[in-house]
């Protein structure tokens, strides 16, 4: 059972449950993937595209203890980036809330990307986008070093 101060699970918007399930269907690029991993993918997508939505009715999606150390660090980093301060890490509920908002925003984007185009186009577009971003990252690292 969850305590008020330290939540033990992360939530999704209840009315979006069908959309989350849709992402796990056999014709999706996330087929066979567990809830946690889909959530994280949606979360970073929402963060990247700067789309977030508040949850109106919560529905439990996965237990927090299932997050690996690196994944927990990722969730915290998103919250820190959003608030601009490390202090947010003192409030786990707030950290998860931020993650949940971005995940809710990212869900719709992911669904659109996976199911709208022809089969196989999501993978190609994702690859192109990631390589583009990776190049930008490398460029900014070089600039910093200079």
């Amino acid at each position: 059972m969850s305590e008020k101060k330290k939540p033990d699970r992360l939530y999704i918007e209840k009315k979006d449950r069908e959309d989350w399930d849709r992402l796990k269907d056999s014709d999706s690029q996330f087929a066979g993937v567990d809830n946690k991993d889909i959530f994280l993918a949606a979360m970073v997508t929402g963060y990247f595209e700067k789309v977030e939505f508040e949850l109106k009715t919560k529905d439990g999606y996965f237990f927090a203890h299932n997050l690996k150390s690196s994944e927990a660090a990722l969730v915290k980093a998103i919250a820190v980036s959003k608030t601009g301060s490390l202090d947010v890490l003192l409030d786990t509920e707030k950290v998860y809330e931020i993650a949940e908002r971005y995940a809710t925003g990212g869900l719709k984007i992911l669904k659109e990307k996976i199911f709208s185009g022809e089969y196989g186009s999501y993978s190609k577009k994702l690859e192109a986008e990631l390589l583009r971003q990776y190049a930008k990252i490398n460029q900014s690292v070089v600039t910093l070093e200079e």
Binding site: N35, D59, Y61, F62, F63, N66
Partner: protein, 66 residues
């Protein structure tokens, strides 16, 4: 032959199922074997008796994913 093939019983016993489910399947299979032997068409009574007894004892466990 009202006995159930040993392979089926063994598969149930060694399977990763809750104890109530194992007991449910084993008991119901015995009814099926008996029906097959005695040509007894009415199974509902026996089925209900076993289902209700075991469902009563059954507790719910939270799943890791919801």
């Amino acid at each position: 032959m009202s006995s159930v093939n040993k392979k089926i019983i063994s598969q149930i016993e060694n399977g990763n199922y809750a104890p109530e489910i194992k007991e449910l399947l084993t008991d119901l299979l015995k009814i099926e074997a008996k029906i097959a032997e005695d040509k007894k068409p009415r199974y509902a009574e026996d089925y209900d008796r076993i289902i209700k007894k075991l469902a009563k004892n059954r507790g719910y466990t939270e799943e890791a994913e919801m």
